[in-house]
Symmetry: C2
Subunit: 419 residues, 2 copies
């Protein structure tokens, strides 16, 4: 008997040309990893009946099950069902509920149903149907005589994802008698370097087994991910909690939230809790900080607005930066950042304002102020709450992206410190 | 003999858990498609010597060549070379140039070279080496007795990509005696629907063979891609040019550029050419239009700034919108958009200003103004150049993303029309 595992087969010639990226495979891998089901290998094959059938046969030599995505549509290019039948030596039979759903669908839209649509309601004989509430093609699990199986799902992600979660994963967990699953907790940090984090948690990292620790870095935002294998959510919480508390203690002052929390979401929650409204004066970040803060639903209650002051004339006229400051210190200077923040707070009527000014490149750098040089200033009702200087690396896109994260980190740390 | 094609095998257990996305495979697919080399199937297998060898053997039953990525490093998890030897019945031999490069590297960094590094300088006997200027592990092409081959490259994209382009693709083109390659031209349109484009070009689309036409849609930006198979760049240009001219004629007024051109880049070029400076008044787009316009290097010469006016008080005080307008018509109205645009143009000192106001959701919709309702207004030195109303679909992120594209399209069409 082959291994208690599955192999994944994505079907579609366009996937082999690099024109369409197959996002289904990674999604299924993640879902099955969380569900405690082993994926042994993955494959992509073109819309060719023999090659699909050969891939299925190969997979079932190594693993108990194969999962295909794609090729269940009504066109002549859609050959997955036929290939499954070839590989397992099965014929098809009509699956009445799918036919009825399809008839209703075509009656509703007032179009005639074609014979090739009827084909979509046929399944390999003896299959377990996987109903598709979001489309016309049902999925199915077809069985070989010895019990090995092929699960086939549509390639449209909107149809595949609920079918996987609601139908296929429960089937697979029962089939493989999986008791435990993987539970994760992600601790999000901001503005603390990966090497500093490694240094602070090296001993916990080295000793971790279940829960296991992983460190994932994205440009000044580092995630510490805990994964626990457990039979129940309550047990997993009990396993994760002490380690999470210890990690948060060691990373104190830099953890803005867990799991689905974003920096902008954490900022919005703190602003709301404290009844504060924020404004921005953005130069080289060019609206990216405003775009982040307004990505949160309901952000209009706590975000009043921003002045994107690219031209010096806008810094002077819309934010009240003094011409002498720009003349003497330059637009990328501590003084200019402070005056921008003050102007934004007063003119936008905010309790709090952050200003950014810097050199995004590729032009504009000098030996004294190279590309990537930047200043941030934060102003509250008591005056200057802080100024920060950085020299960021990378191209224009990387510099502005990193500066945006730094700006979010500054705002978050300020609000967190004020609690 | 198997087909004159290759199969791709990515090696790495972490790729099967969905934790690390394999971007190499799509990159290699695209490169080989352009080089005229057929990819028959792709696979991902874990770091397991037997399974890697089995995948290679399977691939060589169907195709003349297999290309592996990953598993060439110095650790005990790196087993690709051993698996290639197993699959082809080869032993290893030392590749002197790689050893010398490695010795130099370790001398430079002042660290001792370990025996497992020496292992990296060994290649399957009789291989064609693929030098790696960006890392220590060389790639190679190993041969079976009957001439079938396995090309192995490192998994680090920075090392793999130049090795592919400079070494492996030329080898494959010679091996498969490929004369022609694929040349592409992408025609970018904005603010014209996919179905309208389909309607206008249906006959050309149906008749296209070489060059072939493909239509790719991304939220109000539709790309028409021409791919020509040809022996030379000059021939390809001659094949593409007449069809490109005809397509651009039929899509006139909506084509903002070709190939690498972005909407913001096209706008910047037009502003520069005409000596105009633009400003923005953004409400529900929240800085996203400013972020787009400032993504272009040198944009400070033509973009003065933006007022992100989220709160009504900011619309009134920073843009001069009349309180009565907001009271009577609402902040999402034609009148408010016009006053925002006028205010932005005058106060930011711009020749041209676009204003956006709308309901991004998920809160704030009414029966009269549902979520997604929005107004755009464009103001130039002659007054109102135009106003536009849309009802956009989707969630908050989709609505703001679509509105940003629409805004770019409005600015571009205005500038294009003024030429």
């Amino acid at each position: 008997m082959p291994d208690a595992a599955v192999e994944l087969i994505a079907v579609g010639t366009e996937l082999l040309l690099g024109q369409l990226v197959d996002t289904n495979t990674v999604f299924i891998e993640q879902s099955l990893a969380e569900a405690g089901i082993d994926v042994r290998a993955t494959h992509v094959v073109g819309d060719n009946r023999e090659r699909i059938a050969a891939a299925i046969r190969g997979a079932l030599e190594r693993a108990e099950g194969a999962i295909t995505t794609g090729g269940l549509g009504p066109t002549i290019d859609d050959l997955t069902k036929e290939a499954v039948c070839d590989a397992l030596g099965l014929s098809v039979e009509l699956y009445e509920p799918a036919l009825r759903q399809m008839e209703e669908f075509f009656a509703t839209v007032g179009r005639p149903m074609r014979p090739n649509n009827r084909k979509q309601a046929e399944l390999p004989r003896g299959s377990l149907p996987l109903p598709n509430p979001n489309g016309t093609a049902p999925g199915f699990v077809a069985f070989a005589k010895d019990g090995r199986f092929v699960a086939s799902m549509p390639g449209v992600p909107r149809e595949m994802k609920p079918m996987l979660a609601e139908r296929l994963v429960p089937f697979l967990r029962e089939r493989f008698a999986v008791k435990s699953r993987i539970y994760t907790r992600v601790i999000h940090t901001i503005n603390l370097g990966e090497s500093e984090i490694d240094y602070r948690i090296a001993d916990l990292f080295a000793a971790s087994a279940n829960p296991k620790i992983a460190v994932l870095s994205h440009d000044f935002r580092v995630d510490v991910k805990l994964t626990a294998k457990s039979d129940s959510s309550a047990d997993a919480d009990a396993m994760i909690a002490p380690l999470q508390i210890e990690l948060e203690r060691r990373l104190m002052g830099y953890v803005f939230g867990t799991d689905e929390t974003t920096p902008a979401g954490a900022i919005h929650a703190l602003l709301q809790a404290r009844g504060l409204r924020i404004g921005l004066a953005e130069s080289f970040t060019g609206g990216r900080l405003a775009a982040q803060l307004t990505s949160v639903p309901g952000s209009s209650t706590a975000f009043v607005g921003a002045v994107v002051a690219y031209a010096n004339s806008v810094k002077i006229e819309q934010l009240g930066v003094r011409p002498e400051t720009i003349e003497r210190e330059g637009a990328v200077s501590q003084a200019a950042a402070q005056e921008m923040a003050l102007g934004a707070r007063l003119r936008l009527g905010a309790d709090l304002a952050l200003a950014t000014t810097g050199i995004a490149g590729p032009e504009g750098g000098t030996p004294h102020k190279p590309i990537g040089s930047c200043w941030f200033a934060l102003e509250d009702r008591d005056g200057v709450a802080g100024t920060w200087r950085f020299e960021l690396r990378g191209d224009r896109a990387a510099i502005t992206r990193r500066a945006t994260t730094i700006g979010l980190g500054i705002i978050w740390r300020y609000l967190e410190g004020q609690r």
